[in-house]
Amino acid sequence: MSDPMAEIRASFFIECEELLESLQDALNDMDDGASDSETINVVFRAVHSIKGGAGAFGLDALVAFAHRYETVMDEVRSGKMAVSPEAIKLFFHAADLLSDHVRSARDQTPVPADSESCLQELEALMGIDHSAAAAEEEVSSDDFQPMGLALDLDFGDDDGGLPSLDDTIQDSVLVVSFTPKPELYASGNEPLHLIRALRALTEESKIETHFNALPPLEQLDPEASYITWSITLRGDVDESDIREVFDFVEDVCELEITSTEDDSGPFEVLAELISEPTLSDEAEVTAAIEPVSVNEPAARDEPVAAPTPPPSPPVAPSASGGGRQSSPSAEAGATVRVDLERIDRLVNLVGELVINQAMLAQSVSEAGLPPNSAVMTGLEAFMMLTRDIQDSVMMIRAQPVKPLFQRMGRIVREASAAVGKEVKLKVEGETTEVDKTVIERLADPLTHMIRNSVDHGLETPDKRLAAGKPEEGVITLSAQHRSGRVVIEIEDDGAGINRPKVLQKAIEKGLVPADASLSDGEIDNLLFLPGFSTADQVSALSGRGVGMDVVRSSIQSLGGRITIQSEPGKGTIFSISLPLTLAVLDGMVVNVAGETMVVPLSSILETTTLTQGDIRALGPNTNVIHVRGEFVPLYDLGAELGYRGTKSDYEGCIALLTAQENGTRSALIVDAIMEQRQVVIKGLQRSYGHIPGVAAATILGDGQIALILDPADLVQNATGHTRTADFALAG
């Protein structure tokens, strides 16, 4: 019993996540000014459904919290309470706490501490607008209803079965009193079938359902048996036939069969039959029950009476009736929940397939077959298929960034409350899909950066007003696909980076020499140095100096890069550029000093063969090349990686022109370009730490390992603060 329950519990919590998501969405809409009843209904329903489900699992703390939240939302829905911005803020806070409660119920951790104060605030807010809050609280404890379910008990006679008035007088009338014991349900028996079987015995029957024993909901034991039936059978029925129907459930129910005189005429029975609503035909029952009212007992008994859930979807009737909607998850397209492990296995297998295909291609070309032979064309088709499979598999792992962004909404609310700033989070492109692993590993750096933006990026309200800006600061979080990568931007409309102050701080901390003259971009990048913090005061949120350097290294470990753009008085934009997937990349296979290496195609702008006129000496050890009206620094890959010394003359060498996210270009000298190919990324063991300029490794067709270069990292490490020394190597 515990195992299926655990499964149901798990799916309840998954559902909770979905409900919380739609709750956040609706609150965001409300925050944007949507005050239509449908939006409020979505909020209400989400809370209500969580409460209903939690009730079924006996998660009392969650139920209690959701209930009080729901009560407030009900007030809002009925228009008794105006929706003020403060109220919405509280709703958000309560929604955050609700998700905490869900989490604590799931992980069985202690419930969040400040839930009581938030609820009191909420209720106080409601009390101002609506004095009966306390009374409402009392009353409303009754209106917690289990989810009503469409009832498809087919007790009724349909029209063909109506006994006619001029039927002959029946031989006898038998009253069967049927009281199931809990064991009957536990052993998987269904009273409905028994009653149907009874009814089939005769033409005329009357079924009464007794709910007298049904306790109030809070005392209801879901596994107990409360409902009894008495079935009056008229006609040629033998008691033994009835006993036979109950043959298998004899010891798990109380059965009493009494023979009575024919005291009521057929007409009377018929009248009762017609007047009893639950005895109409199946379709009508379903239709009649759906807008179920609070006092309808039939809706209440169904979860108890039916050991197997009926196929109709659960309906969440609201306490005050109306507002019935199908649950939001039902609107989404058909989906399948798959174990992540299986997908990962598939991804790995496809990775192996790609390597294998490359090996096959290599051996075919080594066999010296003509280019348009059947084998070659077949291989080409195979390659295309592999690619398609790979894309599809990658798509399975891709997920929208929406849940991640919603978490950031919470971070903004908490952070802004902590520092006393008015902050609004605008979210764009939340449907952008990124590999699941990327999303997971993005949460921490993003949290950190959002906090930074709230704490350091935005000014205090009075400073904002003084600068002629609206009091409320805006942080825009956006995601979009840009040339095969995902770019996530965190933009604030704050004061921008205070560059003199940053420089001064860096000099104070000895991170740069006192007489350094740095460009704006270089000063901005000082923020990423370990141990740097501009905040004058160390706040609870940020400013402890472990920060942007950690952010940058975690972004880099994802194969991403982070850049800053800042304009004084206007704000700051942090851009994170990430690969779509961590598993494969399109690369250019090159030869450097006899080693085969792969350069990601996404970073290569063009390739060029250098002529004497292109190369100009910059310093004693450095060269630039002149390409398309721009001077681009030249790096010799072989020398940068320490494979060989520099060449005396670069005329005739092949250069890859690469571009970084921030627009910086650089030219990398390689010895030869071999081919363009999709490679499977294999992580290097971390034993040797971060190798400058190397992102990962891959296995080539001949089984050899080739390193995958990270041009931006390579250039960064070659031009860092030891610029002259590295240039001496490169030049």
Partner: protein, 156 residues
């Protein structure tokens, strides 16, 4: 290292895989050896310490190869068909040890293992966990944990 011995093994004896490095005999606990491979060219890693020969493809995974000779302060192993790579596993870490040649598998009673004398001047001294004598030859037992790169120190 000796703690890694599986309980099924006769605890009074230890099995060692012995190999040659520049005419000297070394050995490792056979329980930590995964396989022995013939020499394949390793792809060098830029800016890696000199004893890290590079990485090789071990059935789809990237395996770092340590030139044991350099690691112990001797001249590099030539790297030709006679050399072998011993694939060892320590905890979750797998690495290849490039050695001159594998010689033998020895069964030695535990009590015949001696702790190495304390000679701080020798750079290889820290890598030896025990010494023993077999047929008049001295055999050094390697301490794998100190030979392999430390994976916990650097989390970058």
């Amino acid at each position: 290292m000796t703690d890694d011995i599986a309980p099924t093994q006769n605890s009074s004896e230890i099995e060692l895989l012995s190999f040659r490095l520049a005419e000297e005999e070394y050995s490792v606990d056979i329980m930590s050896v995964r396989e022995i491979r013939g020499w394949t060219r390793a792809t060098p890693l830029p800016h890696a310490p000199p004893h890290v020969r590079g990485v090789i493809n071990l059935r789809g995974t990237v395996l770092p190869v340590v030139d044991l000779s350099v690691r112990l302060g001797m001249s590099p192993v030539e790297g030709d068909a006679r050399n072998v790579i011993i694939v060892v596993q320590l905890g979750r870490q797998t690495a290849g040890l490039l050695v001159d040649a594998v010689s033998d598998i020895l069964s030695i009673p535990r009590e015949e293992l001696q702790a190495p004398p304390d000679l701080a001047a020798d750079s290889a001294h820290g890598f030896i966990s025990a010494l023993t004598i077999v047929d008049g030859r001295m055999i050094r037992v390697l301490d794998l944990a100190s030979v392999l790169p430390d994976d916990s120190a650097e989390a970058a």
